[in-house]
């Protein structure tokens, strides 16, 4: 997103379009997309500056202040069942949430894009193999993938990221594959093949840079999906383990106190909802930008 502020047109070519400014002008004309971008920037800032923003420790209990309601003295959003400041836990919870969402997506992309490019470019046996792998991954609900990995390697943040990354694989492979198939037929790629350019160079210099925009769009929908997935796993007790706060495990422990103290169940859910909504709005904005026919 930093490409938009570069002064002097054409001084630094944007990966997405030759003129960075036109890109920003068209993007900024869509209020939902701008709201989404702002939301994402805010969540990232909260995660980065969590130690400065939170007034309390997210894990130290104050047993004299258990389940105080919102707007009680010193605790704007109240405290949870162990007397921990709800707002501070929400602030720190953004760190694990973003970490899982972004890393799972990066992992999926790093594995899926080479597979997708190879399968779309070479077709034949490579394609057949890649498609069967994605079919098998799709056949298992990601919950079971996560469960399996946790059983084999033990529950940890890395394994949640791994499980959600694996779950994201099929979608990313298919997109890279479709793009590679379309690009392969284009004249500049055909010309490169005919003139004997090395295949590795074609794959990474000709194909890959030209599929960055659809991959960017895929990333922007994959991050919120991974965030929802990790919240779901944490909610079931398979994800981030207490006392480390995650929005999912905060919701899980809040369920016991639902009848008398509903607010501790409301805030973490709102945080997840607003974060995923921001990413989805941003993703929609990017998609409209790259593929205006769907607007």
């Amino acid at each position: 997103m930093t490409t938009v502020t570069i002064p002097g047109e054409g001084s630094l070519p944007s990966l997405i379009e030759p003129s960075g400014r036109g890109w920003w002008r068209r993007f900024s004309r869509r209020p939902p997309a701008v709201i989404g971008l702002a939301g994402v920037v805010i969540v990232v800032a909260v995660a980065v500056f969590a130690p400065l923003l939170a007034h309390y420790s997210p894990i130290v209990s104050q047993f004299g202040h258990v389940l105080e309601g919102p707007f009680s003295a010193g605790h704007i959003l109240g405290t949870d069942q162990l007397g921990r400041d709800e707002l501070s836990r929400l602030i720190y919870g953004s760190q694990t949430t973003l970490e899982v969402g972004v890393l799972a997506t990066l992992l999926a992309m790093a594995v899926a894009v080479p597979i997708g490019i190879a399968s779309g470019f070479y077709r034949g046996a490579v394609d057949m193999l890649a498609m069967r792998i994605t079919d098998v991954v799709l056949a298992f609900p990601f919950l079971l993938i996560a469960v399996g990995l946790a059983a084999i390697f033990g529950p940890s943040l890395q394994n949640i990221i791994l499980a959600l990354g694996v779950a994201q694989l099929p979608g990313s492979v298919r997109i890279a594959r479709a793009e590679a198939m379309a690009l392969r037929e284009q004249d500049f790629v055909q010309a490169a093949i005919v003139t004997g350019v090395k295949e590795r160079v074609i794959l990474f210099r000709h194909l890959f840079p030209n599929m960055l925009s659809p991959l960017l769009v895929q990333a922007s929908v994959s991050i919120p999906a991974a965030i929802l997935g990790s919240a779901l796993l944490s909610f079931l007790g398979l994800g981030v383990q207490p006392p480390t706060p995650s929005w999912g495990n905060m919701l899980a422990s809040a369920q016991t106190y639902l009848y008398n103290d509903p607010w501790i169940a409301i805030f973490p859910g709102v945080a997840i909802f607003l974060t995923t909504l921001s990413f989805n709005l941003l993703g929609d904005g990017l998609r409209d930008l790259f593929d205006p026919s769907m607007r």
Partner: protein, 318 residues
């Protein structure tokens, strides 16, 4: 057409075989001996361990074990749960109807909301109805289903006291109570799928509404109903059918949490309990069952695909 179907069926079978190998190897990759995984005990003498390994055929080479295991599964022997002592088949049999009813209701809700709003959004593109449907779809995509469930319980069970918050009553016992227990979970589960269906329908419709044959249909003087309903929608549903197939795997993950939130003793809750009790025979059976269901549904969707789209039908004949 038959060749195409046979090819798809062959691919599905291949996928199912690979999936079953993944399940088979997955359970054997769990740390500790397979005897531990299969019986739930960790404390064995060497002699007892050897006896168990022999009894379960675990001293055979892996390929032999796999073939034996597949033979047992095909014969319906899925073992028994070391936790409850019940046969896994009985457990699945008890839980399956609940999950089945929940999933069907959720899909119905999703289709009922998703497809009409998608069509309206495409026809009224760029106008109020389009923005409203898009907003709803974004809501459905962004809201965590389990939190949505908790909020509905807060509103309809805790404050308004209209609906029960948890539990299940069989349809045969009391149809009214059955639906009262399922309406919230089905709605929660259906929302996310409805959102995806709406978006797919909308973009599919936008694409087909621009095609020449739709213009021809309009030029022939056909009513807008026929043009949209018969020509455009039918072709847009081709992509929607694929998405429904893809959504099923995601839906089944959602089922687990939804059942957990609403206290429904279905396959999802069975899975979650099995996970926490390290009940591997049950997990193995559930994994195999869900993989088979997802693969079967995707095959069915291929078939629907063919019926809906003359292009695919004809390509299959060539």
């Amino acid at each position: 057409m038959r060749a195409y179907l046979l090819r798809r069926a062959g691919i599905s079978l291949l996928t199912l075989i690979i999936a079953s190998m993944v399940v088979f190897l997955g359970v054997r990759a769990v740390p500790g001996s397979p005897a531990t995984a299969l019986t739930g005990n960790t404390d064995f003498s060497q002699a007892a361990l050897a006896a168990i390994n022999r009894a379960y055929g675990l001293d055979n080479p892996l390929p032999v074990q796999y073939v034996d295991w597949v033979g047992q599964v095909v014969a319906g022997h899925l073992g028994s749960s070391p936790v409850t002592g019940m046969s896994v088949v009985t457990e699945l049999g008890n839980a399956f109807p609940i999950t089945f009813e929940l999933t069907v209701l959720a899909m119905l809700i999703a289709l009922l909301f998703g497809i009409p709003t998608g069509v309206v959004a495409a026809i009224r593109r760029g106008r109020g109805a389009d923005y409203a449907s898009n907003g709803l779809a974004l809501f459905g995509l962004s809201i965590p289903s389990f939190w949505f469930g908790i909020m509905l319980i807060l509103l309809f069970s805790v404050y308004l006291k209209w609906l029960p918050s948890a539990g299940f009553i069989p349809f045969s016992q009391s149809p009214g109570a059955n639906l009262a227990h399922l309406v919230m979970p089905a709605f929660v589960l259906g929302t996310g799928v409805a959102a995806v269906l709406m978006r797919q329908t909308r973009s599919g419709m936008l694409e087909t509404l621009r095609t020449d044959y739709v213009r021809t249909a309009r030029a022939k003087g056909l009513s807008e109903w026929v043009v949209v309903g018969k020509h455009a929608l039918r072709n847009s549903l081709v992509t929607v059918a694929t998405v429904i197939g893809l959504q099923f795997g995601i839906l089944l993950s959602g089922v687990a949490v939804t059942e957990e939130v609403f206290g429904l003793p279905g396959i999802g809750q069975l899975t979650i309990n099995a996970v926490f009790q390290r009940d591997y025979p049950t997990i193995q059976a559930v994994a195999l069952l869900t993989a088979a269901i997802v693969i079967l549904i995707n095959l069915l969707m291929d078939f629907v695909y063919m019926v809906l789209s003359p292009r695919v039908r004809l390509a299959g004949e060539l």
